[in-house]
Symmetry: C2
Subunit: 205 residues, 2 copies
Amino acid sequence: MGLSERRIRERLDTRQSILATARELFLLKGFEATTIRNIAEKIEYSPSTIYQHFKDKNEIFYTIHSEAFAELVRYLNASEMHKNPMDQLIALGQIYIQFALENPELYDLMFIMEAPIDFLNYLEDANWIEGKMAFDYLKSVIANCIQQGLIKETDLESLSYLIWSTVHGLVTISIRKRGLKIGLSDPDTIIQRSFTIFSHLLVKS
Amino acid sequence: MGLSERRIRERLDTRQSILATARELFLLKGFEATTIRNIAEKIEYSPSTIYQHFKDKNEIFYTIHSEAFAELVRYLNASEMHKNPMDQLIALGQIYIQFALENPELYDLMFIMEAPIDFLNYLEDANWIEGKMAFDYLKSVIANCIQQGLIKETDLESLSYLIWSTVHGLVTISIRKRGLKIGLSDPDTIIQRSFTIFSHLLVKS
DNA sequence: TTTTTTAATGAACAATGTTCTAAAAAAAAA
DNA sequence: TTTTTTTTTAGAACATTGTTCATTAAAAAA
């Protein structure tokens, strides 16, 4: 009893190819247009095989969402080159925005779409650890800023939520196509300008 | 040629009942779960009849979205009781947040969901006038603030986009269920607190 | 009354996520 | 090696979905 090494490896391989194909199709055509049959056809398996590896479509995209968080963290790590926590905080925001603009579909999946959260709700222990860890990291940097007197002291949780909300808002208006449609300047430019204004507002006065 | 008064009235009536039913089901069960057949059954018509009044499902929800904007404007009008433009701006933000928290599904439809924008894209002249008018109104209030020296002078468009983004971000993290899942305090409370911090940041220093 | 226009329907299509039963393949036991 | 058991895969099927189209019913115009 117990599966042989090779069998385990094979299972993992097909699982990975499901994920890779799902991600590829998702980035190409979006969530709705990425069908189970589509994925199955591409990896040359029947649709039902996919359900041996994932409970449903939501779980597939929850997994892609988790991997995308690993990528975001890789992006954010670059902020640690700054010794001054205020510089790091600004870098954090800028990188976050950059990630969102370079990977709009992934950002959508991570922070807007319902699929991954729906899967989370299906689990008993429905904790969004990916989001929690990223938010805690942001909080720690902001805490440093306050501690060094670079930002006026306020409730850490609320301030962190505000800062997250601001960058989130900046990019989501664009990602969900509300910006272009009201005759605004180039999205990337206006997002950058707005973020600059925001960062100036943030520094202690 | 030409339809009789009564016929026109009847057509408008069924159109309205389609919209009313669609909205009711939408608020109750969401966009995906609101099916054409569902709506048809409730108004005692066949599904195909609905397509005599609307091109597709997106157009129905684009129309509901437009009506929701009229409601939002009614909300926002209350801000004009303030003579001081800074007070008005803050009231504007607070009312905007209130509207979003009291009507999360409508807010979602107006500012997050793809359906209304998809319908807009199908039209040749794809201008989101509802959004543009609301944004222009916000801009005018902010312009007053700058003019009276209540807010530091900056690029009006970018600042307006920033302020919109911030309140939009505050409420969308909650609406798309990213807030609850990271062990945050009660959404309404933290949104209020964050907005208060933001409004303090805004006033000129 | 007859003709023409308008309104409404019912059946049908292609596609979706998902499930379930049966077959094929591989591994374990004899 | 042969038999039995377990695992993997597939295929057909289900219920639903948005949408279209030919046909019928109803109303208006002639």
